[in-house]
């Protein structure tokens, strides 16, 4: 009876394997997003402030497609001109290098006016701040420094901006002020790429006595997620992004779009979570579902991964790759994350079986048998898969370590080591004794 059940189970598994392979598209009509070019305009619309410009410039720098490059630069140009950062403007102009016609050249009259205005404003701010200082009105001094911070930030002097924001700390009177100071410091630090500062100020903000409002705490979670991502701590990053509440909405566009939360969080979770965690913390997470709805591809690929449709999952990933590489925060980690996800998929695939036909498995992962063999070899060497490859028949056999034999081996080894160590120790003791008695006898003579 049991045998029959087993047999049925096995047969089901087998049909599953086939469906992993070539049957995927025909069975489940799902729109697979194509690897078509990033819609830069739509992308840029998700962000605001400095990060928008920086992201556009990053795209221009990273992509090989000239028309895309120029499109990004054109939008960056328009965006910079809305602000007051003449230095960045110069850079953008230099990058465009006249390729977009006379309308996108250096605009000296605009630069001069902005610079002139900036001088005046700076003078005014200085006078104000000095007046506040003489009057010793705490709140006003704080405002003065804060204004200075804003001023420098707008003009792209990030280090100065950071200093001024941090200076307001001594004049903060309520916990709200402190949170405000922290948010500013975090924003500037993210722009500067100083993620240790980010972590510091997040913990300061979280220590605040009053409960943080939902939006602020969501912002802090995102920033923490980014900091962990930057430090390659993908599991922690995934946790932070998953904890982000949907109240975030479009309130943090100067740093991150809600779509990014889904992408970053989803990928980090796939790369670092085990199956149960994936189920409880990602798929069953109602909060996070709100984010996932914004990026259906990520939602689908997580679902595919969980339901073991690896081919389709990996296809989604492959399609997204080009665009993810254009992301200012993610691009460094794309390869690592993808490798980890792929390895995880390989491990999970082999896990339930006693033997796996490599040809079918290669099919399921859309790769060649030899390529798969190499991948499996690496995983076995790292002891991530307990199995051995029958390269002749192209079958992978699970290997169950014999506890008894291993114990015997270890015991004999440990015994040998103990034996050797003790004898060496006795010898050293003998030598030391000799040396000491020599010294003593020398002293006596």
């Amino acid at each position: 009876m049991e045998d029959e059940d087993d047999l049925a189970g096995q047969m089901m598994d087998e049909s599953e394997i086939y469906s992993n392979g070539d049957g995927a598209e025909t069975q489940r009509h799902r729109p697979i997003i194509s690897g078509e070019q990033l819609d830069i305009e739509a992308y840029a619309a998700m962000y605001s402030g400095r990060t928008k410009i920086m992201r556009l410039l990053f795209i221009a720098e990273q992509c090989d497609n000239v028309s895309m490059q120029l499109e990004a630069l054109r939008m960056a140009y328009d965006e910079v001109k809305k602000g007051e950062n003449t230095h960045l403007f110069g850079e953008v102009v230099q990058k465009i290098d006249g390729r977009l016609g006379p309308n996108y050249g250096p605009d000296s009259s605009w630069t001069d006016t902005v610079d002139h205005r900036a001088e005046q404003r700076k003078e005014k701010l200085e006078n104000e701040l000095n007046a506040y200082r003489t009057n010793l009105i705490k709140e006003s001094i704080r405002m003065g420094h804060n204004d200075f911070g804003n001023f420098y930030y707008a003009h792209g002097a990030l280090a100065e901006a950071f200093k001024n924001y941090v200076r307001t700390r001594d004049y903060c009177t309520t916990s709200k002020h402190i949170v405000h100071m922290c948010s500013n410091a975090i924003l500037v630090s993210i722009e500067m790429g100083q993620f240790t500062h980010v972590t510091n100020y997040i913990s300061k903000a979280e220590q605040s006595q009053d409960a943080l409002d939902a939006v602020t705490s969501a912002k802090l979670r995102c920033a923490a997620g980014l900091a962990h991502l930057e430090g390659k701590k993908y599991k922690l990053a995934a946790r932070k992004f998953l904890e982000t509440s949907p109240e975030l909405g479009n309130h943090y566009t100067e740093v991150i779009a809600p779509q990014d939360v889904a992408t970053y969080g989803g990928l980090c979770a796939l790369a670092s979570f085990d199956r149960t965690e994936l189920k409880t913390k990602v798929i069953d997470n109602i909060n996070f579902r709100n984010f996932l709805e914004l990026v259906p591809a990520i939602r689908e690929l997580i679902q595919d991964f969980y339901t073991s449709h690896y081919a389709s999952c990996l296809e989604y990933l492959e399609n997204m790759k080009a665009n993810l590489l254009l992301d200012i925060h993610l691009h460094d980690h794309v390869e690592t994350l993808f490798d980890q996800i792929r390895n995880k998929a390989l491990i999970q695939y082999t896990h339930p079986f006693v033997s796996v036909d490599l040809r079918m498995m290669a099919n399921a992962f859309k790769t060649s048998v030899t390529g798969l063999e190499k991948e499996l070899e690496a995983l076995i060497t790292e002891n991530q898969i307990q199995a051995r490859i029958d390269s002749h028949n192209k079958v992978l056999y699970a290997r169950h370590a014999d506890q008894r034999n291993a114990t015997f081996q270890r015991v004999l080894l440990t015994g040998g080591e103990f034996d050797r160590d003790v004898r060496a120790m006795l010898l050293r003791a003998s030598l030391m004794k000799h040396e000491h008695s020599l010294k003593v006898s020398r002293k006596q003579h």
Partner: protein
């Protein structure tokens, strides 16, 4: 009584008479004879009759102590190369015949005679003639098998030069615990290590070399440096890796200096860790001269071939079957034929468990067939347990002895006092216990 005797001691002849009379007797007689002999060095040197003629009147197996004293005088002068063979033969016969209990009364004399013997054997370039007598000498001089004598290192050197590694191993199998002269110990371990390397007993070789490297030393010495170099190479051959960190009981002198003298070897270990044959080969090429001048090139070559083995062994962890061609490709061998030779050799040496199917060029790997169920295995485990128990008993005896040792106690006591007071007061104090 001593004075009266001295009057009679006016000639070498009467000394011989004393020897003849006292040798066969009790321990008391022997002690008396020893006393006489100690005073008669000058007499023997200034004697008209050549000491050699005196020897002919004595039987080395009966009058060992007296024979030893006269023999020592005989061989102390310059010896021409023609005489060397003869002198060596004379000493060899004495070593074979002498009584252990008599020569142990004058170990220094015996050691000096044996060392001269070694010199003569080397002078006539026949180290093999010295191996057997020297082994006898070591055994006769030893009061217990745990004692390291001053002759151990000379014996091992002769074994090395005569390539009698197996004879050397017989001495190395004894566990040594009592050491008098650090220099003897260093040489014993170094030569012993080389003999074990010659017999491919790398495990034992590592143990001996490790002893040299980690021995307490107050100044860096050439033996330790050479031992460290070989230690690196043998580690690579045996374990496939080398850890550059020293155990914490290593003397600070060794920790600070040994690496500076062995850079090419450390580079080699580094390139070994990449697992790539090509990198290892290029490292060998760049440092070839240094290895050659250190006489280590042969070992270095063994390091290279061990990497092939290591890489093939790694494959057995991953594959059940693999074609010879794939093996050749993965471990960077030139042809499948060469891979076959390597695999075959490794099967023969018991380093992997596999069968080769020549028809389709496939190798099938197996797990270690040892099931730890055989009587032999149980016996082996049992003997290991017994060995460890004996050792552990020895350890506690040693500890007991140590904690009663006045020298040790005075040292510890002094240090403790100094320490306590320094904590309280920075003014220097002197204590005498």
């Amino acid at each position: 009584m001593g004075g009266g005797m001295n009057l009679n001691m006016n000639s070498a002849e009467s000394l011989v008479a004393q020897i003849l009379g006292l040798s066969g007797g009790s321990a008391k007689d022997l002690a008396h004879l020893h006393h006489l002999l100690k005073q008669s060095d000058d007499l023997l040197l200034s004697s008209d009759s050549p000491p050699a003629s005196l020897l002919s009147q004595l039987d080395p197996s009966v009058h060992s102590l007296g024979y030893l004293y006269i023999l020592e005088v005989c061989t102390s002068g310059p010896i021409s190369k023609e005489q060397s063979g003869e002198v060596a033969l004379l000493i060899a016969r004495f070593i074979e015949a002498c009584k252990a209990d008599q020569i142990c009364l004058a170990p220094d004399k015996f050691i000096s005679v044996c060392k001269r013997f070694k010199d003569q054997v080397l002078l006539v370039e026949a180290p093999i003639r010295g191996v057997a007598p020297m082994l006898t000498a070591v055994r006769k001089l030893q009061t217990s098998s745990e004692q390291l004598t001053a002759l151990h290192s000379d014996f091992l050197l002769l074994c090395l030069l005569a390539k009698c590694y197996k004879t050397g191993l017989s001495v190395l199998e004894d566990y040594i615990y009592e050491v008098d002269q650090p220099r003897d110990f260093f040489l014993y371990c170094y030569y012993g290590g080389m003999i074990c390397i010659g017999q491919k007993q790398f495990h034992k070789a590592l143990e001996l070399l490790h002893n040299v490297v980690t021995a307490p030393m107050s100044a860096v010495n050439a033996i330790a440096v050479e031992a460290y170099k070989k230690y690196i190479l043998v580690s690579l051959i045996h374990f496939g890796q080398f850890s550059t960190s020293f155990p914490k009981y290593t003397s600070s002198v060794a920790q600070r200096n040994l690496k500076n003298f062995s850079q090419p070897y450390l580079d080699l270990a580094n390139s070994y860790s990449t697992g790539k044959i090509s990198e290892l080969e290029s490292c060998v090429q760049t440092n070839k001269e240094k290895f050659e001048t250190d006489y280590n090139l042969g070992l270095v070559k063994q390091v290279v071939s061990s990497m092939y083995k290591r890489n093939i062994q790694r494959l057995t962890q991953t594959y059940l079957t693999l074609s010879l061609q794939d093996i050749a490709n993965t471990v960077q061998l030139k042809s499948s034929k060469e891979a076959e030779m390597h695999v075959l050799q490794m099967i023969q040496d018991g380093e992997i468990y596999a069968t080769i199917n020549q028809k389709d060029g496939m190798v099938r790997f197996f797990e270690d067939p040892e099931q730890y169920k055989s009587c032999q295995m149980i016996e082996h485990i049992d003997s290991s347990i017994q060995r460890v128990m004996v050792l552990s008993k020895k350890l506690s005896t040693m500890e007991e002895q140590m904690s009663c040792d006045p020298l040790y106690l005075s040292k510890v006591g002094r240090e403790r006092h100094r320490y306590d007071f320094e904590d309280l007061d920075s003014a220097p104090h002197k204590f005498n216990i």
